[in-house]
Amino acid sequence: MSPIHYVALSVILFVIGGVGVLVRRNAIVVFMCIELMLNACNLAFVAFARMHGNLDGQVIAFFVMVVAAAEVVVGLAILMAIFRARRSASVDDANLLKY
């Protein structure tokens, strides 16, 4: 199995994640889709590291995980706060900051 299949898988996962972010209204699902996109990127990084024979991609994959973990912490906290205030987890309901 050549690494190019992994890249293809990562593209598929990334597109699924991106479409999910754009079309879903529930903030939790949007969040999960973002995680999916991040992990698609990780997969691509690891695949490229394998293709090029160095460790750079693998190292960056660890960094992305750290960032993703931090982002989940902050993001879920915001989500909790919004849900408490508005009794809704829909991203379309939180639209006060506009023109």
């Binding site: 972010v21 949007v30 379309d92 639209n95 506009k98």
Partner: protein, 633 residues
């Protein structure tokens, strides 16, 4: 051609700064002293000019007793810049001492007279302060040894005249007249200032000695330009056509101010400037001809106006314009005319001050009435004023042996010998002017002093107090004798010769033009008697001929200024405002509105929906990746 050679001042002349210091001190004390100096203010105001006059006499006799009659007193270095030195120097020479004596002498008499004339005015102290300031500025003007100091005095005179013409500032007409005088003067001042700049660029100096010494090598073009610019300056201060319109309105000031402006200061400044600059005029026959032309036009212009005015002061103002026209004409004749121009100026100082003070005395007795149609038959009730006025009258119309005859006729006479054909034309016009002078003065005499009493009800004319009559008596003596004293035996001519040169030849006193001028004057007197002496004067003015109507309106001088200068100026400002509002502001406002409108629409993109932002980001990122790929491949 004459040049100026000066020596450092010695002896009593080392104190010539006192001439300026006395009136300046008076002005400063009176203007800053406030109400505290009300009680004794007029005494100080009189004492300072008199002290200056006494010192002027001392300086004059010191000058007579020495062979160095052109003495320069260095006070301090005013503008010490490398390559450009202007010193605050006072030049006491034959010409300036003549003016000093005239200014301080006649000025003192007028100020003494004012003590009586202004006795009921609550602002008398301020009046005396301004009068002192006026004298100080005028003295600085004639004593400066370079054009820049002269200019400082020149502007000071303009300021003081503004303050004095508008002295009764609660009257709108006085305020307007003061502004008008100031603005008309500014036009002339511009000419003088440009002349000074031209001197600086051409010669690198503005001192009289420096300029006169090098002007000869600069070519006649520069001399002509300088001459014409100086003429413009002189036109402003001396109320010559085309800058004459302020003089008639200047009558809004108190009568002693009119006397001071017309006799001793202000209007003589232009003549002084021209005569002082004679080495420049000597190099340019064209400029001289222009000067003579302006003088001739003005002497007729002023005379015609004086014929039609019923206001005694305005009639006298027209007369002043006319007489200054004679002086300017004299200054345009070169060495043949300078001496007589100055002689007429000095004699005029006496008789015109006498006439104005006489008019003031009449007004004082007649509740400030100025309309001559309301006078008549005053000779009985105001004997002293009428006699002094009559002597000044004989002097101004040029009856021998009064002073006008000796000083005005030589100018007319010299006219026929200078400037070729043009000179003959100018001389003929000057002769006609002599007839006009006699006519309007005779008219004034008969309307004021003789004939039926046409007084307003309630008028109780009375002779003025001695403090007012004595100055008039002294001035009358001057009007009688000044001309003969200055001209007979060539006294003034010999005295002034080093400064202004010698007239080519003397024709004696009873030359052909002189006799014709006398005949014209007698004809004018006869006409005046026929129209205003023999037939009674109506109390209301008749409609009058076309010329009379024009002359009553100052020969449309104001109308001309208004339609040619003021209206186009207003149109220009309106056009500028329109252009500014619609053009400049319009462009800026349109741009601002366009930016505002566009951003108002673009703002709608901020919907508040996170998912649409995310869509934009995806498209943006896709575009970025696509762009990178395109660049790479």
């Amino acid at each position: 051609m004459t040049t100026l050679h000066t020596v450092a001042a010695t002896g009593a002349l080392k104190l010539s700064w006192l001439l300026l210091a006395f009136p300046l001190f008076g002005a400063v004390v009176l203007l800053l002293g406030g109400r505290r100096s009300n009680r004794w203010g007029h005494l100080l105001g009189v004492a300072m000019p008199v002290a200056a006059f006494v010192y002027g006499l001392i300086a004059f006799f010191t000058l007579l007793g020495t062979s160095h009659r052109s003495q320069d007193l260095h006070l301090y270095s005013w503008i010490p810049v490398a390559g450009f030195q202007v010193n605050m120097n006072l030049l006491v020479d034959q010409l300036s001492i003549c003016f000093v004596l005239l200014i301080t002498g006649v000025g003192s008499l007028i100020i003494i007279y004012s003590v009586g004339y202004m006795s009921h005015d609550p602002e008398r102290r301020r009046f005396f302060g301004y009068m002192n300031l006026f004298l100080a500025a005028m003295l600085l003007l004639v004593l400066g040894d370079n054009y820049l100091v002269l200019y400082a005095g020149w502007e000071g005179v303009g300021l003081a005249s503004y303050l004095l013409i508008g002295f009764w500032q609660d009257r709108n007409s006085a305020a307007v007249a003061a502004k008008k005088a100031f603005i008309a003067n500014r036009v002339g001042d511009a000419g003088l200032s440009v002349a000074i700049m031209l001197m600086f660029t051409e010669f690198g100096t503005v001192s009289f000695t420096g300029v006169f010494g090098t002007v000869g090598s600069a070519g006649s073009g520069v001399a002509t330009a300088l001459g014409l610019l100086l003429l413009l300056g002189a036109c402003g201060k001396s109320a010559q056509v085309p800058l004459q319109s302020w003089l008639l309105d200047a009558m809004e000031g108190p009568t002693p101010v009119s006397a001071l402006i017309h006799a001793a200061t202000m209007v003589t400044a232009g003549v002084y400037l021209l005569v002082r600059s004679n080495p420049i005029l000597a190099l340019s026959p064209d400029a001289r001809l222009a000067v003579a032309l302006v003088g001739t036009v003005t002497l007729l212009f002023g005379g015609i106006i004086a014929c039609a005015k019923d206001d005694i002061k305005k009639s006298l103002a027209g007369s002043t314009m006319s007489q200054i026209g004679y002086m300017t004409l004299g200054a345009g004749l070169g060495p043949a005319g300078y001496v007589f121009s100055i002689a007429l100026l000095l004699a005029h100082g006496f008789f015109k001050a006498g006439l104005f003070l006489g008019a003031g005395s009449v007004m004082h007795g007649m509740n400030d009435e100025v309309n001559m149609r309301r006078f008549g038959g005053l000779a009985r009730v105001m004997p002293i004023t009428s006699v002094t006025f009559g002597l000044a009258y004989l002097a101004i119309i040029g009856i021998p042996p009064f002073s006008g005859f000796f000083t005005k006729d030589p100018i007319i006479d010299a006219d026929f010998t200078e400037h070729g054909t043009a000179g003959n034309v100018l001389g003929t016009l000057a002769l006609i002017g002599a007839g006009i002078t006699a006519f309007y003065m005779t008219r004034m005499m008969f309307m004021t002093w003789y004939g039926r009493r046409r007084w307003e009800a309630g008028a109780h004319p009375h002779e003025s107090p001695p403090v007012m009559t004595w100055p008039m008596i002294v001035l009358a003596i001057g009007s009688v004798g000044a001309g003969a004293f200055l001209i007979v035996n060539d006294r003034l001519q010999d005295f002034l010769a080093p400064v202004v040169g010698v007239p080519p030849e003397s024709h004696g006193f009873f030359t052909a033009p002189g006799l014709v001028a006398l005949a014209f004057a007698l004809a004018g007197v006869a006409l005046g008697w026929a129209m205003y002496g023999r037939t009674p004067v109506p109390s209301e003015a008749s409609r009058g001929s076309l010329l009379t109507v024009a002359a009553r309106k100052d020969l449309y001088g104001d109308a001309f200024n208004e339609s040619v200068l003021m209206r186009p100026g207003q149109w220009l400002t309106r056009l500028s405002v329109y252009f500014d509002n619609r053009g400049v502001d319009g462009l800026v406002n349109t741009l601002a509105a366009a930016v505002g409108g566009t951003s108002g629409r673009v703002r709608r993109l901020q919907t508040g929906f996170v998912r649409s932002y995310a869509l934009f980001m995806f498209f943006g990122a896709a575009l970025l990746v696509f762009g990178l790929l395109v660049v790479r491949l």
